[in-house]
């Protein structure tokens, strides 16, 4: 193969490359519908239910004598599933017990969902922005940690007037994430290093860097002995509440919706957005059309990192921070990877991402309640989220399971296994 002449090699390279970008574009648009999405969620919840039962050792011990007394096992299994999912619902949407409670009790679960959805909107937009340029940014963890470090540092080390401080801190966080993303873009565009490997490695580097900072003089909070925590951010730098102090929703929700509008505009109307999309479809055609491929890739990664930096801002300056608005080692809360699933479920469209973020935000908000009242650990949520994405990505699998009639006779793609 290596003895081929240059044009042939070029053609061979072109094919997979075009395929890669185009398949990233089309991955969730072809023969997909809202029905498939709903069925995918149902399937994932069914698998989650099976997991709940299988992981409950006392229920499984009843399965040993299933044929003597199936009722025992079935009722134990049903108990697991129903308490689990009803607790999830109560924690995420609405708890009937709070009908006569205070407004903050009544709206508590739903505002919790909004709170958890906000960083996911930023993150989902970040991943989708890179996706549409044919780049796969799995460096969200690192970029949001860098954003959090920048925002946190400006928040506690600088002392600016009310109003100005929070704006400067938010911008600093965005710049932090953006620079870290830019670095990936530079390595990709100038050195040809694959962004998937580089971003993963940068995730670990950022995590370890944060771990060092939190114990370093100037960053570590001297009032908290023996704990890796930074100094708390000034009250001036905290994101203001949106609906009064009793409800935890903060202004970042508005910024997130605005970001969705901006990203939507970016792809529809802006020149750079057009170039990014063109690059995602076919880099060779894009270059032929006069687009500077390297520059566009660098800017794409920088913008994606910038949005991830805003995730770090939410986690540090927002009400989502449970640590008195200071940095801690687990500041990323695995949002970098959840964001990928959000972008995929939202099919890389800004408003789809908002809906997907609300769904996954509801899971994330309900999970701790489920763990507290039904004894099912929160980690199950990431299993369900990954399964939803897998099912949505494989519409034919869902159609086969539910015996849906395929829209097009998919004879050519018939399985040969």
């Amino acid at each position: 193969m290596t003895t081929d002449t240059t044009p042939e090699e070029r053609a061979q390279e072109q094919e997979p490359l075009g395929g890669f970008g185009a398949s990233l574009q089309n991955i969730f648009s072809a023969e997909n519908s809202i029905l498939v999405t709903v069925l995918a969620i149902v399937l994932a919840l069914i698998v989650g239910a099976i997991l709940m039962v299988v992981s409950d050792t006392s229920a499984m011990s009843k399965a040993d004598y299933f044929f003597q007394s199936p009722g025992d096992f079935l009722s134990a299994a049903w108990h697991d599933i129903s308490t689990g999912y009803s607790a999830l619902f109560k924690g995420a949407i609405f708890d009937p017990k709070t009908v006569n409670g205070t407004p903050s009790q009544f709206f508590g679960p739903i505002t919790g969902t909004l709170l958890d959805a906000t960083p996911l909107i930023f993150g989902g937009l970040a991943v989708s922005l890179a996706f549409r340029g044919g780049l796969f940014n799995i460096g969200g963890q690192g970029q949001l940690i860098m954003g959090a470090i920048f925002a946190g540092y400006v928040g506690f080390a600088w002392h600016l007037p009310t109003g100005l401080h929070v704006i400067v801190a938010v911008i600093a966080g965005a710049i932090g994430g953006g620079l870290y993303g830019l670095l990936v873009g530079v390595l990709k565009a100038w050195r040809g290093a694959h962004e998937v490997i580089v971003t993963i490695m940068f995730n670990y580097a950022a995590f370890l860097f944060l771990g060092w900072l939190l114990n370093a003089n100037g960053f570590h909070d001297p009032h908290v002995f023996g704990q890796a925590v930074s100094k708390p951010v000034d009250p001036n730098a905290r994101l203001p509440h949106l609906f009064g102090d009793s409800v935890p929703t903060d202004i970042s929700l508005v910024i997130a919706i605005a970001a969705a509008v901006v990203v939507s505009w970016f792809f529809r109307r802006s020149k750079l957005g057009f170039e990014v999309r063109a690059l995602g479809f076919n880099p060779f055609a894009a270059r032929t059309a006069g687009i500077n491929v390297g520059r566009t890739r660098i800017l794409t990664m920088a913008l994606s990192g910038l949005l991830f930096g805003l995730v770090g801002v939410c986690q540090t300056l927002g009400t989502a921070n449970a640590n008195n608005n200071s940095l801690s080692p687990n500041i990323d809360a695995n949002l970098g990877f959840t964001a990928i699933t959000v972008a995929l479920l939202g099919r890389n469209k800004p408003w789809g991402i908002v809906w997907a973020a609300l769904l996954f935000g509801a899971f994330d908000a309900g999970a701790p309640i489920m763990q507290a009242s039904a004894g099912i650990r929160v980690e199950i949520v990431s299993v369900i989220e990954a399964l939803i994405v897998i099912f949505v990505a494989a519409p034919r699998l869902v159609q086969e399971i539910f015996r849906l009639r395929a829209r097009r006779a998919a004879a050519a793609t018939g399985g040969q296994a």
């Binding site: 992981s55 050195r191 694959h194 490997i197 490695m201 390297g294 990877f337 995929l344 990431s382 040969q416």
Partner: protein, 433 residues
């Protein structure tokens, strides 16, 4: 996944490679000058301090080789200067592709040696930097990387990108630890762990080949799935009942008589457990199988030109399914090494990015088993560096030493850039017709 990595220079930077070399070379030279000042002229190497290199794992044993010493400052300065020269050559002299690879290797080697000389300066009281200990740490860190990279080689040579090596490690480690505990046998754990890896491999194969999900995305989502599932089962089932589910026996070291008494390398190489020996045997087997057997020829044909392979009667999809699942056994073994080969328990996210470093090793090793072995040993050295230097009191924060394997991976992947070419049909679902 690497489809874009080969294409990137040819698309974006063909005209700019001169400028890119200038920038890269100059920044390397600047770092080289820094190495001269920090390692050669820093406080640690002053007052004619001597670098110390230990030659035995247990220096007090009878007949053990003595520690070797040499002046630290001049050696470190010379190595730093060599770094600078490599950088300047790269910046201002047009060199061939092969020459560039040698320059990069020389640069990395000189820089690392300069650092090690600096780190070991004046540590003769603490036994110096122990060579056998470094080899041992390298091997321990490299085993999962080698196995994961081999898994990746087989998958990608058959045209399926496997980014889910990380998840396969976790499945293997989890299944290995749990089965070994319940059966109280490492061998049951080994088999269960391998099948754990193969199970995720099977899932990857079906979703990629039958349902045509984009394979890089699929791999990443499968990693999220594997991490979520093992973490959930760990916190829900294993952690509350550690003694009955997560207290496995551990593979014991087997000392090979004769070979193990070779000075310096003997103890480090020939006093290890069976998985480590098996890993090196598997490298040889896969290398021969891939390039010398009918199976290997067919595998490579399916990965390079599936249409042609199909035309001559090779079952493309069958080959892909079989290879991805078989390769999963290897990744599973890598997971087994993590849980019952080393630690003796499963913990959440215990693979910590090793699956991705294995992926980088496979690219750096240019999709060949022996090349992947070399790259995995390189990354393994940096993975074990923190352990190797732990007793030397270098003052370098442990977090920065832990960062080394990740940053070196980025550096190597970035220096190699467009010099590597993946199998042509990688990441392309095959549709017969």
């Amino acid at each position: 996944m690497t489809t874009t990595s080969i294409a990137a220079p040819s698309v974006g930077t063909a005209a700019k490679s001169g400028r890119a070399n200038l920038i890269a070379g100059l920044s390397q030279a600047v770092i080289g000058v820094y190495a001269v000042f920090a390692f050669g002229l820093g406080a640690r190497t002053q007052h004619s301090a001597k670098a110390a290199v230990g030659m035995a794992l247990n220096p007090n044993a009878p007949g053990a080789l003595h520690m070797q010493q040499f002046p630290a400052a001049p050696v470190a300065i010379a190595l730093g200067a060599l770094c600078t020269v490599c950088g300047l050559v790269r910046a201002f002299v047009t060199v061939s592709t092969v020459g560039r690879r040698w320059l990069t290797s020389g640069y990395v080697l000189a820089f690392v040696l300069a650092f090690l000389v600096w780190a070991s300066a004046g540590t003769s009281g603490r036994g110096g930097i122990s060579l056998p200990f470094a080899i041992q740490n390298t091997l321990i860190a490299a085993v999962p990387l080698i196995l994961g990279a081999l898994c990746g080689v087989i998958c990608e040579r058959s045209g399926v990108v496997n980014v889910a090596i990380e998840g396969q490690f976790l499945f293997g480690a989890f299944a290995g630890a749990m089965a070994a505990t319940m059966a109280n046998s490492v061998w049951v754990g080994l088999i269960a762990g391998c099948f754990g890896g193969a199970l995720l491999g099977a899932l990857l194969a079906v979703l990629a080949n039958r349902y045509h999900i984009e394979q890089v995305v699929l791999g990443v989502v499968l990693n999220v799935f594997a991490l979520g599932l093992t973490s959930f089962l760990y916190t829900q089932v294993l952690a509350p009942n550690q003694s009955s589910y997560n207290n496995p026996p551990i593979f014991q070291a087997i000392r090979i008589p004769g070979l193990a008494s070779i000075p310096v390398i003997g103890e480090a190489l020939f006093d290890n457990n069976i998985i480590l020996y098996a890993t090196f045997v598997i490298v040889v087997i896969v290398e021969i199988a891939l390039f010398r057997t009918r199976w290997g020829l067919r595998t490579r044909a399916v990965g390079e030109h599936p249409r042609a392979a199909d035309t001559v009667g090779i079952k493309v999809l069958g080959t892909r399914y079989r290879n991805v699942i078989l390769a999963g056994l290897l990744s599973g073994l890598g997971g087994v090494w993590l849980s019952i080969g080393q630690v003796g328990a499963f913990t959440t996210n215990m693979s910590s990015g090793k699956g991705f470093i294995a992926l980088a090793a496979l690219i750096v090793g240019r999709w060949s088993p022996v090349g992947a072995l070399g790259a995995a040993l390189l990354f393994g050295f940096f993975g074990g560096l923190g352990q190797t230097l732990s007793s030397l009191q270098t003052g370098v924060p442990s977090q920065f030493l832990s960062m080394a394997p990740y940053l070196v991976t980025v550096f190597v992947v970035a220096s190699l850039g467009g010099l590597v070419r993946p199998p042509a049909a990688e990441n392309q679902p095959f549709v017969k017709g």
